[in-house]
Symmetry: D2
Subunit: 362 residues, 4 copies
């Protein structure tokens, strides 16, 4: 698989930053799911840059579903959605220049020079709009089974958001926000950091945190189909992700088993866990507690500051000072893509575990 994901629900992503359309296909969705186009619009609005913290390239993200939906519901056949590219400034990317930290150079070498380099081509964050739109369709399906997915900015630089402590309340705060933080004060401090980076013609990194509530026990597999593994493989598809951890993650390194283990207890005939250090997953399989993961997001590589680079057309060393319109930080913008991609992965996992029939509307 290259641009596809999944075993039952199969997601395929296509398009280039400056091509006519980007889009994607979801094959083998359950039939009869409601497709609420207003929800998709709101999800795309969350992804759109807003104000000073983001790029000046703003697009309407007008999408069209060209197959797989009939009378407002999924047919179960491939659902393809396309989004037109607008507001394209291809001149901002001079031929032969490769951005340090970006995929420009590997894309050029891998394709023998036949890649579309405009705006990063297929390696552009622009394609996450298709992930957000198609992910929202999966998210609506998950909600019918009580599953909610929420992602917030966990950290930018050394400023941390407050902890998620009330799934319902926190979810309301985060939904529809295009700078999803729980603490307004911490959010302002983060924005100040981003502003400062921008003023220095630079960029800054961060960490996102995702909580999935309402999952039953039984999603995932031992060994190579673990829930951690399939989520990770999907998440590393998002440009800029360089690390992922579940539950206590890297903190486990200095913990004792007695601190890290989540005890069990019967309460009113139900099995409950006494803590959730493992982030809702044991042995690769969801255990019924909320699944928690965090993604390390590197600072965006397209910066205006001078950097040493090369020109693959002229074969010369150059000092690169990018013009173009770039985000000084993508941590907040990536949150909606993480929600969408998580939803796509989870719907596939549900169908692998419980069958397509589980979501089918009778």
């Amino acid at each position: 698989m290259r641009n596809s994901l999944g075993e039952q629900v199969i997601f395929t992503l296509f398009g280039e930053s400056h091509g006519p359309y980007i889009g994607g296909t979801l094959d083998n969705l359950p039939a009869g799911l409601v497709v609420d186009e207003e929800r998709i619009k709101r999800a795309l609005a969350r992804r759109r840059p807003d104000g000073k913290s983001s790029t000046a390239r703003v697009e309407r993200d007008a999408f069209q579903i060209i197959s797989g939906v009939y009378k407002g519901r999924t047919t179960g056949e491939p659902l393809t959605l396309i989004i037109q590219n607008e507001n394209v400034h291809s001149g901002d990317y001079p031929e032969g220049l490769v951005r340090p930290g970006h995929a420009d150079y590997v894309a050029h070498e891998l394709s023998g020079g036949y890649n579309d380099p405009r705006g990063g081509g297929h390696f552009s964050g622009r394609l996450t709009a298709a992930i957000v739109a198609l992910g929202e369709i999966c998210r609506m399906a998950l909600e019918t089974k009580g599953v909610a997915v929420m992602t917030h900015i966990y950290r930018i630089g050394d400023i941390y958001d407050q902890t998620i402590d009330n799934l319902e309340e926190n979810g309301k705060t985060l939904q529809n926000s295009n700078f999803p933080v729980l603490s307004k004060k911490k959010g302002e401090a983060m924005l100040a950091l981003i502003e400062a980076a921008k003023a220095e013609r630079d960029s800054i990194g961060g960490v996102t945190e995702t909580i999935i509530s309402g999952l039953p026990l039984g999603l995932g597999n031992p060994w190579f189909g673990s829930l951690e593994g399939v989520l990770s493989n999907a998440m590393f598809g998002l440009g800029g992700v360089k690390g992922i951890e579940f539950g206590e993650g890297f903190n486990f390194a200095s913990m004792k088993g007695s601190e890290a283990n989540d005890g069990y207890q019967y309460k009113d005939g139900e099995v409950v866990l006494l803590s959730n250090h493992n982030g809702g997953i044991n042995g690769g399989i969801s255990n019924g507690e909320p699944v928690v993961f965090r993604l390390a997001i590197k600072p965006i590589s397209s910066i205006a500051k001078a950097q040493p680079s090369i020109n693959t057309a002229s074969h010369e060393n150059v000092i690169l000072e990018l013009k173009g319109r770039h985000d000084p930080c993508i941590v907040h913008r990536i949150c909606s893509a993480v929600d969408g991609l998580t939803s796509i992965v989870l719907l596939d996992e549900f169908m692998k575990a419980f069958g397509k029939i589980y979501f089918c509307v009778k």
Copy 2:
């Protein structure tokens, strides 16, 4: 995929901790690869517990290759290797008791109670012996193309090993060690920490670091077949792994773009990178620099210390005090499995990128 991995070279893992055999199959290997059984024995020896830092269950790991090898070389057809289980104490695992932090409970629920619970059954670290043995066959193939894989203990508790700084020298130090560290002094401090945890009837976590040298540009893919993604999916298959990061990983969160980007320069007509913050991967694709990743390993969940748990047979709450023979730390033992699994993944990636023919012996 559940217990399988790969698209061209397909690896399948089978067996239970206390069943007659564990083993695995590698399908679609290049034909003509030398299979050096002495190398496999040495790799298995690295995995075996040694002295005080590990379990008292020691096995000879006598393996047999039952298909796919003829006159000491691969035929290109499925290679199946089996390892007999010996020294089994099934009585150490009383029926119905589930270990907090382990897969016991999810395994029981997922299978409707039909799982093999003895020694964790299929969810046991015992199966990593098959990964080590089959991985070594792939590693020998990679070496013929100049690719080396090495893993050391990066950290146990808050003790860090020294940094890998000389691939060749460090590789010699680490190979054949079953407590792979570069700094002897730090290794002793780590062992002391493990001893202390054991004395408290507890366990302790850590972090491993893997360096892959000699990779050409071009392994991996954009989006959902990224080199980071496929390595991650494989690594989360290993019990105890709860996080993975590439290059600077979670440190990227507080870095600026100008610090994180790896500049390019032509030197004697060749393109070189001026640093390797990205851990050898851009846009999901190897860039020619060494690939570097670290794994967060949680403290082993089987501890002798008293813990609250349940008995799924009697439906009672219990205080669990495990007997059995358990490692107080698996960070050092997992290193050989990480090497093996990395080698399996890389051989598949080579074949996806360059074709099976690339490794075929003429």
Copy 3:
């Protein structure tokens, strides 16, 4: 896989007969392949109904490549092509009526009634236009390696075309024909049969034959990735295909081993086969001789003649007399789809055997 095919080159098909667009995606094509849109147009013209033997629904098949092509060549990233649906008469398909022999009833039941029933929805032969268009891109790639694919009408009713005996000459006769036969006289007799069926408000079946020349030894695999198997799985995707045979096929039943075996001989240092009863495949693997297969095509199920059926909306038994515009025979129209699909499968097989790099333009 449902609407997808392939392991290296992955083809995904989408759309409904009366939706806005049909189309498909080819992922992981080699980069640098020339995409000649005139060739695609000619291939689509071969598929279009012509004169009396076909439906009155004629479409321009205006296509647009919306990703994966830059400056007239493939980039190696997903190539998506869409074709607008025109000339749609949805009123011809009254709600609840199911056509005997067609997928209407299973589509309705499988989707819980949420399928798009208009014109057969996703189960319509209309989608083969996308197969023809995308297949032609693969066919152009194959031609650069000397591989040619040609399909003719082998039989309609009991009228047989003459045998393919000169690959080059026959290829010229068949290319660009939308009633591909070698014998003009037999073709006229076939057309007369089709006319007669149409006059009776009925339809008629037939057999196609495909010859693939120029294949090297080594495509395919033993057991479950056999060249016969992967071609078959693809071909049964085409509506109306109910049988496939390779080489002597069902004639083998009354043959002796001594008649069926293809002897070997060295000639000028090269190994040659003395006959080709096995249709170019031994043990699931191409042997260097032309690959030959035939497809049984059932008579099209949409007929105007009265038939017993049901109305799933009213739950009544009915006598169905279809109106609409239907082909009395699809054997000739399916030939271009068989060529296209064969080309897609072969490009994938080439890449599995020899690597993506084999087709890459330096």
Copy 4:
């Protein structure tokens, strides 16, 4: 996929004719299925050569299940079964000689000469024993849902068995037979034909027919996951299969739509089909009628009669007169493999359609 099959239940086959073991793995079986070893023994007995119509190589087929079964039931984890090879006469296959019609030559070329040529190595019919044994486990699972699979010799040379007309009665006649025909008289005529071929140091081909009863509507998919397609891909894995047809198959070529369509009718509130020309499948999906398919089996290529061939070791043309112990006909012996493979495919299709949970024992 090469030696693997399936998406949910994944089957992997390994071994060589003269290696220590052959075997296979079934991953992701439902947990709790009864594994009746006596049933597996009987299935293997059906496959064994009996009397004059078959090879003199007779093996006990002693098998061992080495993983995935606990207390007589499946655990849901990989089930691996191995069968020891006995009675091996490797000297019968002189080095460098390739049998016309067999895979010897392609196997040699594909592997660069590193294949195991003894007894055909991995390309040997010997491996079907593993298919029969593992298939029987799937067949037992299917029976709990009322699904029965039966295969008989449809034809040898020009002698046809009588038609299957009573699923229950016919099933009793065929089960446990290692020459499965319905008409005793026709069976004797077939045996006489086989004897005659043997006397001429030759072999003879035939056709098998398989009926699957009890399938619900809804297995399979449109386009590339059609039930016809997945069954075909599996069946072409069996050495000697050169054609497959469903329902009327190649007879459709001379049929009219009005003859070929299967009408629908409501009877007592249930939808019934008035005929079954389509062999239980419409649009790639099971329609509730019995699924019917036939396989063209070529005459076995290993014959004692003199044939022109080559020696790849000496690079000389030779006249080959095989010694060894070969079947003059495999049509009857392949029936048990067809049953087994069909059962494996169907269990996977059930799980794709209805989820793993459908077969799980509560």
